[in-house]
C-alpha cells in the first residue's frame, strides 16, 4: 500500500533535483513550478505536474552542456559571474575523488586487470585486433612464445602453440618440430589435426601415430577419415557410400577392434598446464583455447556411426542366414565401441541409434538361445545407455552453447567493462571542460555548473560500480584459471571456455552454434556497429540543425 502523500513527496524531490541540475537562469522557473505544487489538489496530479516541469528543466540542463553559451547572460561584474558558476563544492568533489580513486585502486589487483582485458575482448573484432580463440590474425604472444621455445629447444612449448595456431600448415610444421625434439609428443598429430595437408603427409603422421600407440583406435579413425575425404573428392563412389571402400572398411575395422580409445585430452591439458606455468602466461584465453574441439576430434564422430550401421546390417544378414555367432560378434563390436566412445569422449550421442539396435539384437539373440540372464543384462544395459545418452547430450549441449551462468557473467563483464569506459570518458570530459572553461589548474579558482558537477559525480560513482561488478563477475573464472595454472585442475576449463567465448561477442549480440555462424555473426556486428555510429552522428547533426532553425528568433511584422 503506497502512503497517500508519497507521490507528492516524489514530486517535490524530483523538482528539487531538476532545479539543482538546471542552469541558474531557469531556477526561478523551477521554483515557480515547485511552489505551484502547494496549490495542486491530488497527489498524483502533483506528481504529473512535476514530471512535466522536471522534463523542461532537464532539457535546459542538457542544452546548457551542449551549448554552454546558451544560458550565459551578460555579466556586469566579476562577482555576478561567480554567482552564476559557484566554486566547486568540496564535499561533492571529495566524493568524486574518492570514487575515482577507489575505482583506480581496483587496477592494482591482477585479477581486475585481467577482467578488464577480458571485457575489452568484445572490441577486438570491431577494431580488427587478435582474438583469443584461433583467429586468422597473427597473434604476437604466440609468435613470441615460438621464438622462446625454439631458443630453449622446448618441444612442449612448440606443441602448445601448435594446438593454437589458426594456420593448419603452421600447426603441422610446429607439430613436426615438437615431435622431432621429443618423440613422446607424437600424440600431437592427433590433436593438432591434419587438415589441409597432402595425403602423403597425413599418411606419414598417421603411420607414426600407429607405431607410437598401436592399441589406440584414434589413429585408425584418422586414416579412415583421410580415405573418406579422398573418396568423396574423387567421386569414385556415390556420395555417402564411403563405407563401401575396402581400405576405409579395413581402417574402421581396426578401430573397432582396438582395445582402447584415447583422445589425448588429458595429455594436452597436462602439457598446457606445464607450459603456462613455465612461461608464466596469464592469459585465460590461451588456457581455454584447447577446449574448442570438445574433447574429441571431429573426424572420429560420424564415420563411427556409418561403420556401426554397416556392421549392424551385416549382422542382420548373418542372422538371417543362421550364423548367430558371427552376428553376435558384429553386434557386440558395435556395443563395445559405442560404450568406449561414451566413456572416453562423451560422444555417445552420435551412435545412439546404432547402440539401441545393437543392444536390441544382442538381447533378442540371447533370448533365442534361452539365455534369459544375458537377455536381461542387455536390456538393462540398453536402459542405462539411454539415460547416459540423455545426460551426455545435455552435457554436450552445455559444452557447445555454454551454461546460463556463464552467459550471464559474460554479459555482466561486457556491460561493466563498457560502463567503466563510458564513465571514465565522462569524467575526463568533465575535468577537461572545467579546466578549459576556467583556464586554470588551481582547485580554488575552478568554478563549475551544478550539472557538470552532477555528471562528474554520476560518472565517478558509475565507474566505481562498474569496477565492482566487473571484479565480482570475473573472479570465479579467474579462480578456475588459477586452479588450472597452479594445480592442473582442469574441471572448470569447459565453463571458462564458454564464458570467454561469450565475452568476445559485442554486447547485444548472441553466439549461435552452427557452421560458419561465428564468423558471420562477427562480421555482421562490425557492420552494425559502424552503421549505428554513422546513423547516430547523422541524427545528432539533423537535430542540431533543426533546433537551430526552430529557435531562431523571428522578426515581427509589427516591428
Amino acid at each position: 500500500m503506497i502512503p497517500a502523500g508519497f507521490p507528492r513527496s516524489i514530486a517535490i524531490a524530483l523538482l528539487r533535483f531538476a532545479i539543482w541540475i538546471a542552469p541558474d537562469d531557469t531556477h526561478d522557473w523551477g521554483r515557480g513550478m515547485l511552489s505551484e505544487l502547494n496549490h495542486i489538489e491530488g497527489n498524483w496530479s502533483a506528481l504529473l505536474w512535476s514530471f512535466g516541469g522536471a522534463g523542461v528543466l532537464a532539457k535546459h540542463a542538457i542544452l546548457a552542456v551542449i551549448l554552454p553559451g546558451r544560458h550565459r547572460g551578460t555579466f556586469s561584474t566579476a562577482s555576478e559571474l561567480f554567482a552564476k558558476e559557484p566554486p566547486m563544492r568540496k564535499p561533492v568533489l571529495a566524493v568524486i575523488a574518492a570514487c575515482t580513486a577507489a575505482s583506480l585502486l581496483f587496477f592494482l589487483a591482477p585479477v581486475f586487470r585481467q577482467a578488464f582485458q577480458v571485457s575489452l575482448a568484445q572490441w577486438h573484432d570491431v577494431f580488427h585486433v587478435k582474438l583469443g580463440f584461433g583467429y586468422p590474425n597473427p597473434d604476437p604472444d604466440l609468435d613470441a612464445l615460438v621464438k622462446r621455445a625454439d631458443q630453449n629447444h622446448d618441444a612442449e612449448g612448440l606443441a602448445f602453440v601448435a594446438n593454437r595456431y589458426h594456420s593448419q600448415v603452421r600447426r603441422a610444421h610446429l607439430a613436426d618440430e615438437a615431435v622431432h625434439l621429443d618423440p613422446n609428443l607424437t600424440w600431437l598429430y592427433a590433436v593438432a589435426g591434419t587438415g589441409y595437408l597432402s595425403p602423403s603427409e597425413i599418411d606419414r603422421r598417421v603411420s607414426l601415430l600407429k607405431q607410437w600407440d598401436p592399441q589406440n583406435a584414434l589413429s585408425y579413425l584418422m586414416a579412415a577419415q583421410k580415405i573418406g575425404v579422398s573418396v568423396e573428392q574423387s567421386k569414385e563412389f556415390p556420395l555417402g557410400k564411403t563405407e563401401e571402400n575396402p581400405a576405409w572398411e579395413k581402417e574402421m575395422d581396426a578401430a573397432f577392434q582396438s582395445p582402447k580409445l584415447d583422445t589425448y585430452l588429458d595429455r594436452q591439458r597436462q602439457l598446457d598446464h606445464r607450459v603456462l606455468s613455465r612461461y608464466h602466461l596469464d592469459d585465460p584465453f590461451q588456457a581455454a583455447s584447447g577446449e574448442d574441439w570438445y574433447g574429441f576430434p571431429i573426424y572420429g564422430a560420424w564415420q563411427c556411426s556409418f561403420y556401426a550401421q554397416s556392421l549392424l546390417e551385416s549382422g542382420k544378414s548373418l542372422e538371417s542366414r543362421g550364423d548367430r555367432k558371427a552376428a553376435f560378434e558384429k553386434y557386440f563390436a558395435v556395443a563395445r565401441f559405442g560404450q568406449m566412445m561414451g566413456d572416453v569422449a562423451g560422444f555417445t550421442v552420435v551412435m545412439r541409434k546404432n547402440m539401441e539396435q545393437a543392444y536390441t539384437r544382442l538381447g533378442a539373440l540371447s533370448q533365442t538361445e534361452d539365455n534369459n540372464a544375458a537377455a536381461a543384462f542387455y536390456a538393462a544395459l540398453a536402459d542405462q545407455f539411454d539415460k547416459a545418452a540423455d545426460k551426455q547430450r545435455l552435457l554436450l549441449r552445455n559444452r557447445i552453447q555454454g551454461s546460463d551462468v556463464s552467459h550471464w557473467n559474460a554479459f555482466l563483464v561486457r556491460l561493466s567493462g563498457l560502463g567503466l569506459l563510458f564513465c571514465a570518458l565522462l569524467l575526463v570530459l568533465c575535468a577537461l571542460g572545467v579546466v578549459v572553461r576556467n583556464r586554470s589548474l588551481r582547485l580554488s579558482s575552478l568554478h563549475t555548473s551544478r550539472l557538470t558537477l552532477g555528471i562528474g559525480f554520476g560518472a565517478a560513482f558509475g565507474a566505481l560500480l562498474s569496477s565492482a561488478v566487473l571484479f565480482v563477475s570475473f573472479r570465479p573464472y579467474s579462480e578456475l584459471f588459477q586452479r588450472f595454472l597452479s594445480k592442473g585442475d582442469d574441471a572448470g576449463l569447459s565453463e571458462l571456455y564458454s564464458f570467454l567465448r561469450d565475452t568476445q561477442l559485442p554486447l547485444g549480440s548472441q553466439f549461435n552454434f552452427g557452421p560458419g555462424s561465428w564468423y558471420v555473426a562477427s562480421w555482421n556486428i562490425v557492420f552494425y556497429f559502424w552503421s549505428a555510429v554513422t546513423i547516430l552522428c547523422a541524427l545528432a547533426l539533423s537535430f542540431a540543425v533543426f533546433r537551430h532553425f526552430q529557435t531562431r528568433p523571428q522578426s515581427s511584422a509589427a516591428a
Binding site: 496549490h39 512535466g52 522578426s555
Partner: protein, 104 residues
C-alpha cells in the same frame, strides 16, 4: 521587435492573458484554463519572457505558504497579442463568407 514562434498552444496561453491584461496569473491556474500540461506550458512562458513579452513576479499569498511565481504580459506583449488577434479576426472576417454562404 522580435517575437517567438506563435504556435496554437502559445495562442491559447496569450488568449488567457489578454482576457485581463493587467492581472497576474499563476502557472497552475493557466494550466487548468488552457488545458496544457506543465511540460508544455512552462517552455511557452519562458519563451515569452525571453522576448520580454511576459514579466514575472514572486508574490506572497498567505502565511506559511511559500510565495508563488506569477506572470503578466508586458506592454509589448499586450501590443503584440492585440495585433495578432486583430489580424486573426480580420482574416476570419474575410474568410467567413466563403464558409457561411456569404451571410457574414
Amino acid at each position: 521587435m522580435k517575437t517567438p514562434r506563435l504556435s496554437s498552444q502559445t495562442l491559447r496561453v496569450l488568449e488567457r492573458f489578454i482576457e485581463r491584461p493587467t492581472a497576474w496569473r499563476y502557472g497552475y491556474e493557466l494550466s487548468r484554463a488552457t488545458g496544457l500540461k506543465s511540460g508544455t506550458l512552462y517552455p511557452i512562458l519562458m519563451r515569452l519572457a525571453k522576448y520580454s513579452l511576459l514579466e514575472t513576479k514572486w508574490v506572497a499569498t498567505e502565511d506559511g505558504v511559500p510565495p508563488r511565481h506569477t506572470y503578466r504580459l508586458t506592454p509589448n506583449g499586450v501590443e503584440l497579442v492585440r495585433a495578432t488577434f486583430a489580424g486573426e479576426r480580420s482574416t476570419l472576417k474575410v474568410r467567413r463568407p466563403a464558409f457561411s454562404g456569404g451571410k457574414a
